[in-house]
Symmetry: none
Subunit: 213 residues, 2 copies
């Protein structure tokens, strides 16, 4: 309904301007009366409010953006050309960082010797080094170590106690994830709304993207 409202308002404004113009005859731009201006102002204000609500709702519904195809390459958008695996994937631009084989190797090395010390300051150094082998952010480096440690810890507990027959542990590690059914696509809204908070508004104009498969 909102859309309809908009179109209507727009058309109306334009049309009335036209009339105004013809009345004056001499002017070659567009015209609007004070009243029309006020109307427009109000309409915009309404949209502004709606926009706010939208944003608000979006925030409420979790986050994590989803990329969108035609996006630019912004300042630090990452794109990993190194990935050997033939990525039949569309150039799904930015989102989740994917370590390059080189980066992964380096990280793995540091992790081994670094005595599992996620060093706060060290992160920056590591990031520096890794950046030479592909896009990377400190945050990603941080996350990587965080995850690495956490996951290696969850896998160890089974090794130490290999006493007798025990094959159930395997299921515990990476199984539960699958149990997350979503209630009616609840989290899918974020994809529908803002592909990415970083991206410009332009994406909002690509309606087709909304239901993107």
């Amino acid at each position: 309904m909102c859309l309809k409202l908009t179109e209507r308002g727009e058309d109306k404004v334009v049309k009335e301007e036209m009339e105004q113009e013809s009345l004056n005859g001499t002017f070659d731009g567009r015209v609007m009366t004070e009243e029309q201006m006020e109307t427009l102002r109000k309409q915009i204000a309404i949209y502004a409010v709606l926009c706010d609500q939208l944003v608000f709702l979006h925030n409420s519904l979790s986050s994590v953006p989803l990329l969108s195809s035609g996006m630019n390459s912004m300042g630090g958008g990452y794109f990993d050309p190194m990935v050997a695996s033939s990525s039949a994937q569309g150039m799904s631009t930015r989102h989740r960082w994917t370590p390059t084989s080189m980066q992964l190797q380096i990280l793995e090395n540091i992790y081994k010797e670094g005595s599992g010390t996620p060093n706060p300051r060290r992160i920056k150094e590591i990031t520096m080094e890794l950046s030479e082998h592909g896009e990377i952010t400190e945050k990603s480096v941080y996350n990587w170590f965080q995850n690495r440690r956490a996951r290696s810890k969850r896998k160890q507990p089974q090794a130490p106690t290999i006493t007798s027959g025990q094959a159930d542990d395997a299921a515990v590690t990476t199984e539960e994830r699958g149990s997350c059914e979503d209630s009616g696509g609840f989290e899918s809204y974020e994809h529908i709304l803002f592909p990415s908070p970083d991206l410009g508004i332009e994406h909002l104009l690509n309606r087709d993207k909304f239901m993107e498969s």
Copy 2:
């Protein structure tokens, strides 16, 4: 925020009109050039899209019981995998609290205005209010503010170190490049909505939580 942006754009339009008007002298209404009209048209179009999304979102939400009145409780809708082992209805929802959209909204609001005051007594009040929108404990509220502050602090320090080599910082910030230059005709919308290069959609989303290295 949206409102502010809007007002700005509006003012601009009005002002330029004034100029136009004076040139013609004879007209007493407002004036807009074809170009300005186009700009306005685009802005409205954008709002229309946003509005559309809002409606869409709203509809979607309405069909999701989770967000309706009584829902609440934790788990954004997913079940606790741990419970699986227990035989009967071991509804032990004893896991990590997950704020409902409403709760999050309220919290975010309080956070914004509350000037980041973790007020000891205030917590209780907030908890009270939030409890009307879902399961919640003072502890959780406390934690939320704690985390919120800590995480938002990581993002703010956006040192505009454009002076010397910013090679090492390039990868650090993954945010600000949000609304930057780019190709395509779409980018123009950004300027319309966000006159200031500093303003990006991310600001609208209020997502200052990032960098955490």
